[in-house]
């Protein structure tokens, strides 16, 4: 090999030694070595967890949470939400044999690898006693959570103290913290994959009350949750996991691919069922990535709307469930598919009526671009990209028509503050739910009650 050939070979070959793709993110969700105190306690009831909700002042541990943090409750957990590094803590609460109430779990800054354990105790003892007696305890300013936090799996030793300050600003059914295809971005350290069942579950624990999910269709017409047209190592793993979603059947997709953190690629049907029956999320924004997905998704939503209407109008109020699913129209091609889908569903409803069956409740739409089309199409919401700015006059124009606005996708503190202040939207899609929730609580304006994610079916 002469010198020139060598130089050429080195220049081409050597850099390839360095070539790799995305650097793997280290994901460690901290756990107590012995299972923690929760293991020996009796978990508090769902209604009791509601009594933890409020804005808390942070007496000790402000280096972790800032000066204030919100606490919300979810089935089986309470979550501490802060605007510091979009941090959150997911905690369980249980009455211990010695009649103390422990609130225990982990904290995390999702964009970094920082995480650790949290162990808090309810004060004053009278409140803990009430919880242990199975009673409710209306929070007041004497209600504190005192204990410690730590780094990684180390037993928590740094002092942490939260004192209830005041009730939360109205958010359920009013302001939508919409999880951007789940709780975290693909580059975050949450240990769950985007558009997975697991990330939807985590999303409601990190402050979201709705989820934005991406819909594509398999070769055999099954709508599934997936963002990109193709299967890339950024989103999936599997030796034989290659190609395009549209070219694979659901069986082939499931047989060859797992999501990045090992979860199955979910169908839209499974995700809707999970959200309605296993979470308290109030709605979903089904982002239609292709026109082919609109009709099968609209059918699923129509059936869901009909089932929810039946649940909410029967004589048993205990099974009522408020949940709204929107078909998000992203392009004119998807809009054409939407027109076609509604025509098909109307025709099918006519057949149902002729056969003596009740018609299905038609789905509702959100349109992401032209505000005049949002109005003309009778959509209940506008979903503009944040990259064109707050567009406050357009938001107000739609508000005057009874139409809500949900911006996508804002993850930055200053811009979240700017959009909340300038546009006062009904919701924002974000991968930083804790940050958005806390910022809304601190500076947001409660939006007018609009049927942005109306429960059940029928046109608003």
């Amino acid at each position: 090999m002469n010198t020139k050939t060598f130089a050429y070979a080195l220049a081409i070959g050597a850099p390839l030694l360095l070539a790799d793709c995305e650097q793997a993110t280290e994901v460690t969700i901290p756990m107590f070595n012995d299972g923690g105190l929760l293991r020996g306690g009796t978990a508090l009831e769902r209604e009791q967890l509601l009594d933890f909700e409020g804005m808390f002042s942070v007496g000790k541990g402000s280096e972790l949470l800032g000066d204030q943090a919100s606490i919300i409750s979810r089935p089986g957990t309470v979550s501490v939400l802060t605007n510091k590094n979009a941090g959150f803590a997911v905690l369980g609460a249980a009455c211990l044999p010695d009649r103390r109430v422990v609130v225990e779990g982990y904290w995390q800054y999702p964009t970094r690898s920082d995480a650790g354990l949290v162990q808090l105790f309810v004060d004053p003892p009278a409140v803990a006693q009430a919880f242990c007696n199975g009673e409710r305890a209306a929070p007041d300013t004497s209600f504190t959570l005192t204990g410690s936090y730590g780094e990684r799996n180390e037993f928590p030793t740094k002092p942490l103290a939260l004192r209830w300050a005041h009730e939360l600003k109205e958010w359920r059914g009013r302001f939508y913290t919409v999880a951007h295809h789940g709780a975290c971005e693909a580059t975050d350290h949450c240990g769950v994959s985007q558009n997975s069942i697991e990330t939807i579950r985590l999303a409601e624990r990190t402050g979201s009350n709705a989820a934005e999910l991406d819909v594509r269709v398999t070769r055999d017409g099954i709508p599934v949750l997936f963002h990109d047209p193709g299967l890339s190592s950024a989103l999936v793993r599997g030796l034989f996991c290659n190609g395009q979603i549209k070219d694979l059947s659901l069986a082939e997709l499931r047989g060859s691919c797992l999501l990045r953190y090992g979860e199955q690629i979910p169908t839209v049907e499974a995700a809707l069922d999970m959200m309605v029956n296993e979470t308290e999320l109030e709605g979903v924004y089904l982002d239609q990535k292709t026109p082919e997905g609109v009709l099968p998704t609209a059918r699923l939503v129509a059936q869901l709307n009909t089932d929810l209407k039946a649940r909410n109008t029967n004589s048993d109020p205990s099974d009522d469930r408020k949940f709204g699913a929107l078909i998000a129209i992203t392009t004119d091609e998807v809009l054409d598919a939407w027109h076609s889908a509604i025509a098909t569903l109307n025709a099918e409803n006519e057949q149902r009526v002729e056969q003596g069956e009740a018609p299905l409740e038609l789905p509702r739409c959100l349109l992401e671009y032209d505000t005049d089309k949002v109005i003309a199409e009778g959509c209940v919401a506008w979903g503009p990209t944040w990259t064109k700015g707050p567009q406050a006059s357009e938001v107000q124009k739609l508000r005057d028509h009874g139409i809500g606005t949900i911006f996508w996708t804002i993850n930055e503190s200053e811009f979240i503050e700017g959009f909340l202040t300038a546009a006062q939207p009904n919701g924002i899609i974000t991968a930083r739910a804790a940050l958005l929730f806390q910022t809304y609580q601190l500076i947001g304006t409660v939006p007018a009650e609009l049927p942005v994610l109306p429960a059940g079916g029928g046109q608003p």
Binding site: M1, N2, T3, K4, T5, F6, A7, Y8, A9, L10, A11, I12, G13, A14, P15, L16, L17, L18, A19, D20, C21, E22, Q23, T25, N85, A86, T111, R112, E185, T187, D188, H227, D228, P229, G230, L231, S232, S233, A234, Y369, T385, W386, T387, K388, G389, P390, Q391, N411, E412, S413, E414, F415, G418, F419, A422
Partner: protein
């Protein structure tokens, strides 16, 4: 998987090159400074004393200038870039003016229209004897991005700093240079619509690059070059996104090519 395969090929080429290296390199050392090639192509030593090189550290006389036009291409899996199906090359413009005694004034522009980098700085090059030479440079300038279409009305602007170290090796009429650069950008500010703001993950460290270039002399004293290397940068820099919302780093191959006038 694509990059895993590339890595394997890289090892094979690298090892083969190393096996073939020893006699050639020794020959080059003993031959330096090389005599003019019979083809009339100027030697590295001659070019280094005339207008110098863009990459191979050289110390031309004061007042000697070099202008270069090139392109860079980052081999990123398009599927990673959320919705983009193709990746196109970036334009690279370079200018250097020798200040004498090894010092250089340098200017660099890199553009893919949406995001642009414009840097000016100074460098110092030192010829270590034989075929080896060394260089250090520091540049500062602007990282600027703007997009008014495709659902964007956005602008981002940041201060960029780029310290660089280069080691060069002459093969007679071919110069090899390995350049390591730190890419530091910040603070960045952005405008969307009429709203300005900064970023939560606005760390100064944006990434680093290691590029190996081959510079080929010609009869006229101009130089054509090509090279490749690894970029390790934050996602927004890699994907030409205007907003740095993640500290995550990506490593990807970069190829460069161009002509030095």
């Amino acid at each position: 998987m694509l990059f895993g395969r590339a890595k394997s090929i890289g090892w094979v080429i690298g090892l083969a090159s190393a096996l073939a290296l020893c006699p050639s390199a020794r020959a080059a050392e003993t031959a330096a400074p090389a005599a003019p090639a019979s083809s009339g192509v100027k030697t590295v030593a001659e070019v280094a004393q005339q207008r110098g090189f863009l990459y191979y550290p050289s110390a031309p006389p004061a007042g000697k200038m070099r202008f270069a036009l090139g392109a860079t291409y980052d081999a990123i899996d398009p599927a990673v870039m959320y919705g983009m199906s193709m990746r196109f090359p970036q334009l690279a413009l370079d200018f250097q003016d020798s200040l004498g005694k090894g010092f250089l004034f340098k200017a660099h522009i890199n553009s893919m229209l949406i995001t642009n980098e414009a840097l000016v700085g100074v460098g110092y090059n030192w010829h270590g004897g034989g075929p080896w030479s060394f260089g250090a440079a520091f540049s500062a300038g602007m990282f600027l991005g703007k997009l008014g279409q495709f659902g964007f009305d956005a602008l981002t602007i940041g201060v960029e700093y780029r310290p660089e170290l280069t080691i060069g090796y002459s093969f007679g009429d071919v110069a090899l240079a390995l350049r390591g650069s730190l890419i530091l950008i910040g603070p960045e500010r952005a405008r969307v619509g009429d709203l300005w703001g900064g970023f939560d993950n606005n760390d100064l460290f944006t990434g680093h690059s290691e590029i190996l270039t081959v510079e080929n002399t010609t009869r006229s004293g101009s130089v054509w070059y090509f090279g490749a290397g690894a970029m390790t940068t934050r996602a927004h820099y890699a994907f030409w996104v205007l907003f740095p919302d993640s500290p995550a780093l990506y490593t990807y191959p970069r190829v460069v090519a161009g002509y030095e006038y």
